[in-house]
Symmetry: C2
Subunit: 446 residues, 2 copies
């Protein structure tokens, strides 16, 4: 077999004097910037920033999770009233009340089992271990159709308090080395149940990712005397902030529109958070999830709480700083990521942060309760609920608003057709639960 080289290598050596950095200032007009690499110092890995030339950062949309789960409107074992069919309860909030708001239960299909022998110390040469571990589910709402972003800041804060209370119960177990709290939203992000829930996985080992993260943070601390998370520069990367937290797109984000929520004050362990800070976090989390939902078309996402191992020697307290990582699923994982661990991110962090900072999240149906809007107690005619003078910037905003109004009133709106969305008045064909009601009208001004 003969091959011919048609200038491949020569072309490789063609140089350009253009700086690949002309692209990283957020206001750059360069529409076709050169790629560059940034190193994530927390995980010590390179990320390739190679912009997708076919779309602008604000055009990035996920595949909505809205219609992906056929059982999304059917009651499930996580719903209020179905407690007897569910796995054993660990605790509920509020204590002992029939009308609970949050329940922590055993995971129906645990990754690890609390019923196998506990491991205390794993010899480093061992390559096989018994699968001891605790895998719990935190049911975030008694109502099947509620999404986390629809709860109030305090209700979301109570979910964080539930995580903390559960972790405090697990800390005394010497066999548990690390606790991973996470949420999968949408089937393609790994959610097997559509009822909104998070998970707590207590592990008998410190995962390699976690020990690598700690080790890299330690290196930074010994070189600079500072915690690398406390030192994050966030002027161009900032999205929002609250009393105790701020949200940003990390400088070397592995994923497009990846977001971190970081406590302002140095703190190594998530479970040291107090209730006041948890409620504050609830507000920022809600704002962030709403921005993701509206800007990115309600995509599948995961969030992970990155904290410190439970039983350190104390030295890690100086350099370890917990944070939440939120990853919307917008691009597939390819052979590059699987092979090298280097992610290719098509959206510059500064651009993603600008889009997320500036996105206007319309008032959600839920919020109307707190500003004087009360849904009719006897439901006959919904035209009033579907009438607004609000101006929606895009069709997606309008449709999401209509769905939220439906949810507020206790039914699911399925929009089969919509016409005239560009005009001041638009008409929908709505399917409400299973009753089809054609031609609902809603006013819309431009």
């Amino acid at each position: 077999m003969r091959t011919k080289t048609v200038g491949g290598k020569k072309r490789c050596l063609t140089l350009s004097t253009t700086s690949p950095f002309s692209s990283i200032t957020p206001d750059s007009d360069d529409e076709d910037p050169n790629p560059h690499l940034r190193k994530d110092i927390i995980w010590n890995r390179w990320v390739i920033f190679s912009q997708d030339r076919t779309k602008k950062p604000c055009d990035f949309k996920g595949k909505s999770t809205f219609n992906t789960n056929p059982s999304r409107n059917k009651p499930c074992i996580f719903c209020i009233g179905y407690e007897d069919e569910c796995t054993p309860e660990i605790f509920r909030v509020p204590f002992d009340e029939l009308n609970w708001k949050i329940r922590v239960v055993e995971h129906p299909y645990p990754a690890l089992s609390r019923y196998v022998p506990e491991l205390h110390n794993v010899p480093p040469e061992d390559t096989v271990l018994d699968g001891f571990g605790i895998h719990d589910v935190v049911i975030e709402s008694p109502v099947h159709s509620d999404q986390l972003l629809e709860l109030s800041p305090r209700e979301i804060g109570e979910v964080f308090v539930a995580f903390i209370n559960r972790i405090h119960e697990l800390v005394p177990l010497g066999s548990i080395k690390y606790i991973q709290v996470f949420k999968n939203h949408g089937a393609s992000a790994g959610a097997s149940m559509s009822h909104s829930h998070s998970q707590i996985l207590a592990l008998p080992i410190i995962p390699t990712n976690v020990s690598a993260r700690l080790s890299n943070m330690k290196d930074f601390f010994y070189q600079t005397g500072k915690c690398c998370i406390c030192e994050i520069q966030h002027e161009d990367l900032l999205i929002d902030s609250s009393t105790y937290f701020f949200s940003l797109v990390p400088f070397a984000a592995s994923y497009p529109f990846e977001i971190w929520i970081i406590p302002r004050n140095h703190s190594p362990h998530f479970h040291e958070l107090d209730a006041e800070m948890a409620f504050d976090l609830g507000g920022l989390m809600r704002q962030t999830l709403r921005k993701i939902s509206f800007q990115l078309n309600n995509p599948p996402f995961n969030f992970m709480i990155h904290t410190s191992p439970l039983h350190g020697d104390g030295t890690e307290l100086a350099y370890s700083h917990w944070f939440i990582q939120i990853v919307p699923q917008l691009v597939p994982t390819t052979g590059v990521e699987l092979g090298t661990g280097c992610h290719v991110n098509p959206v510059l962090p500064e651009d993603a942060a600008k889009v997320l900072r500036e996105v206007i999240v319309p008032v959600f149906a839920h919020d109307r309760r707190t500003i004087g809007f009360s849904p009719p107690s006897k439901i006959v005619d919904y035209s009033e609920a579907f009438t607004t003078k609000e101006v929606f910037p895009t069709r997606e905003y309008l449709l999401n608003w209509a769905r939220a109004i439906g949810r507020e009133n206790g039914f699911t709106v399925i929009i089969q057709r919509s016409t005239g969305v560009a005009a001041t008045t638009c008409t929908f064909d709505l399917e409400i639960n299973s009753i089809v009601s054609g031609g609902e009208k809603k006013r819309r001004r431009r």
Copy 2:
């Protein structure tokens, strides 16, 4: 907020005397085995094996890539005859022939750019680099609808030879530290073009995954004096073997039905492979991809060639051993993997290996050419081509066979309906290209 502990911790301490290892013998009858962890010594990470109780290993199926790309049958810039619309060619096989079999071209949307300044040495404190790198595409066939698994062993071997020839051209560039060869099959595995192709990404850095892999292999070598890949025990894990290679499911596979193809003889660099070995590899690769396609419903997949960095100090030659990793995409990535790096694998490697070892891959249309089947030169009646005495074990096999026969004859079979698949004769409604031909018949014996 008050919480109530309902026995959570107590239940954690309940012990079982059942060995969690009763499940890992392949013939175990235990249908609900306890989970366990295995350590992948190559990447030094734990994998959680937690079997999916809702299905047996042989029931695992992916979401077929067959209908996911609407442009799958339209000619594209990778097709023969469209060379002028394609990105610049680097070389073709055979040399200078109009009727080429393989072309290596510049990637239309490169992750890194050959047109920015070359990097030679990256200071370790640098966190931002120019995006210099070479990103090529290897077009595996001139025909749009050909899949890699449909080529002959020699043709697949020629694709490997094309990789090697291209790598040899890149080795003299001192700025290239590592070359990742990979393939994305199916849109959700990251393939943006449906025309079968692989990619070569030459990087200006050694990715962290690669240096970690080398470092772990080195540790094993210094502890045992042996290469950890040469030492792989594969009795229960073996799938197939050829003269120079064998395929297996790794002991601590991160993904269900993950497969490694390993050269029998110790070899650190993929590009040291000679043509005879490449053709042998082509046969084993074809067999493996066919098994994945038939057993797992033609799922999206990635393969990655894991080799050694280009410019080592020579010590790595003793402990480094290249191999190919094939990952069918069958389960979503969740917050556990993103948070901890520990994968949860619902299929035991021994079980996956047994299924893949035993799966019967029916004779493909392509193979018929070599055993006396010749397609009619003037196409009028295809009933003969669609008549067979072959016994198909499942409906999927039968449908895939029908599609392959269509492809063999130069058209695409779209099966709209099929009836009587359980009987000895079955009837299809076929759409052939855009001409609908109802009631094609095919005999099938049980």
